[in-house]
Amino acid sequence: MLRIHKAPMLAGALLILFFPWIARQLPTISHYPDLMVFAGIYTLITLGLSLLMGYAGQISLGHAAFFGIGAYVSGVLSTQFDCNPWLGMLLGAAVAAMVAVIVGAPSLKLRGHYLAMATLAFGIIVNIVFREEARWTGGPDGMIGIPGLSLFGLALDSAEKYYYLVWGIVAAVFLFSVNLIQSPAGRALRAIHASEAAAAAMGIPIARYKVIVFAYSAVLGSLAGSLYAHYMNFINPATFDLFFSIKLVIMIALGGMHSIWGALVGAIIVAFLSLEWLHYFEEFEVVVYGAILLLVTIFMPEGLVGAPAKLMARMRR
């Protein structure tokens, strides 16, 4: 039976907890907590995407849109309406959930390529809205002056403080997802992935589950976007474009789509690749991602997290 073991989770939690301290001891990686803020933000999105794509088997090529919706709702509300950032974050999540239900209800009836196309188109349209609604969004130039966050009067004004906020949220969402996967609802999602006909015959309301998991992944994307906006204090549409949607897919493919751990591993690796290690490649960055996706698809269809088990199985044979 599918069991997600507790020991690695505990080890991961300890590592996350002490990482900033470790980074402080080593000058070469002293800026890593800043990178890990972005890694955590990406992980929030991929945790939702992994449930949607890996477990429920529904493709989305438009999740940058939800990331953007969170960022822009937070940005607009906090700069133009003086709205409390936390409230803005909640409202962003609510908007994302609503959009997900409206877009998802018809699209999720589609399968495979058609669903991929529908979500891709959705992502492109939302990005155009960010660019064109300049009155609100600042257009292609984006918007500046988005305030930072503070918690119980404490301003989260350093990378390290923000790191703990982001990774605290990631940990909570991770636990939620782990519980979900090991529950009847999680089995229902996996059943839909394996056979919609059989899932329906077992009384599982397929359409409802698909929309719920789509909305759940949208809400996580939106939360990530809000956290991003309040950390960067600046956003522009290029961050939320089609390429980012595809990068998200690369993250879960690289990490391993069929495991919740894959979402975490893939997001961290791609965050470090894009923000640190691939700088030298400049415009060839895209080529590198293409190569990664190709190699993973061919040689590691189960991703990094699934690779050891696969290798062991092969050696035993």
């Binding site: 519980n179 009847p184 089995r187 229902a188 996996r190 899932a199 329906a200 009384g203």
Partner: protein, 265 residues
């Protein structure tokens, strides 16, 4: 005919028509399934048997006609509603959840009979955790019944075909159905496996569950069915007891027309 004299029908089908574009897969079918019995639907390939199952279980709405389950009209309802009312099924093409173990397949079959809130599950509410324990016990009891308890932790797609078919029946039973529709449960099975399947189907009947059975294995059909309906090119050409069907000239002709591939006796 036998069908008209049924006292307590669990399923009644009246003047059912199913057209796919220009092709009429089912023409004016009347069918009655008596409660607690094994009713077989036989007929050559392409006769419309699977289509009949798909309509009963709500995969598509019929072009015309009425289906009543326990006296209540169900034609046009969604599959998960029909499952909730107490009709379950297996598939001719074996549709197991291959990404799950044997045990999980049966547990998933219990979906209708348990609580499964998305957010409650995520929050790991204590009541849901307790439920999960009970669920494993219920699923294990079912695996004992179908004889697959020892395979509980094997992935469904790693089972041989015979056991896959049995597991699919077990999963269908997990929904606590009043009626199970079995689409060719013995197809591809060897003689011993077929016999085991026949025993299982009889044990299901013994539990008081009505069985609607599509099958090509004539020995099995004649041995365990209480009543048989025969479809040919979307039409019901005969209905009756196994003995009546065996001696029906129309049926013999329909099967001989298939090139003698089936021996009705």
């Amino acid at each position: 005919m036998a069908a008209e004299s049924v006292q307590d029908p669990i399923l009644e089908i009246e003047e059912l028509v199913m057209a796919f574009g220009g092709l009429t897969a089912l023409m004016n079918i009347d069918l009655c399934v008596p409660r607690g019995r094994i009713k077989a639907v036989i007929g050559p390939n392409g006769a419309g048997k699977t289509t009949l199952f798909n309509i009963i279980t709500g995969v598509f709405p019929p072009t015309e006609g009425l289906i009543r389950f326990n006296g209540r009209a169900i034609s046009g309802c969604k599959p998960h509603h029909i499952a909730a009312l107490g009709i379950s099924r297996t598939f001719q093409t074996v549709e197991l959840f291959n990404n799950m173990t044997v045990l999980e397949n049966v547990m998933t079959g219990r979906h209708l009979r348990i609580r499964s809130s998305f957010f409650g599950s995520g929050l790991a509410l204590p009541s849901l955790r307790r439920q999960e324990k009970g669920l494993v016990e219920q699923a294990m009891a079912l695996l004992e019944f179908i004889g697959l308890a020892a395979k509980r932790d094997i992935m469904a797609d790693a089972l041989p075909l015979g056991e896959r078919k049995i597991l699919e029946i077990g999963r269908a039973l997990a929904t606590d159905p009043q009626l199970v529709c079995l689409d060719e449960p013995a197809a591809g099975l060897n003689e011993t496996e077929t016999e085991a399947a026949a025993h299982l189907i009889q044990a299901i009947r013994q539990k008081g569950i009505t069985v609607l059975l599509v099958e090509h294995d004539m020995k099995m059909i004649m041995d365990i069915s209480d009543e048989i309906a025969v479809l040919n090119y979307g039409e019901k050409i005969a209905e009756g007891t196994p003995r009546e069907i065996q001696n029906n000239p129309l049926v013999i002709e329909a099967y001989l027309g298939q090139g003698g591939g089936f021996d009705i006796r």
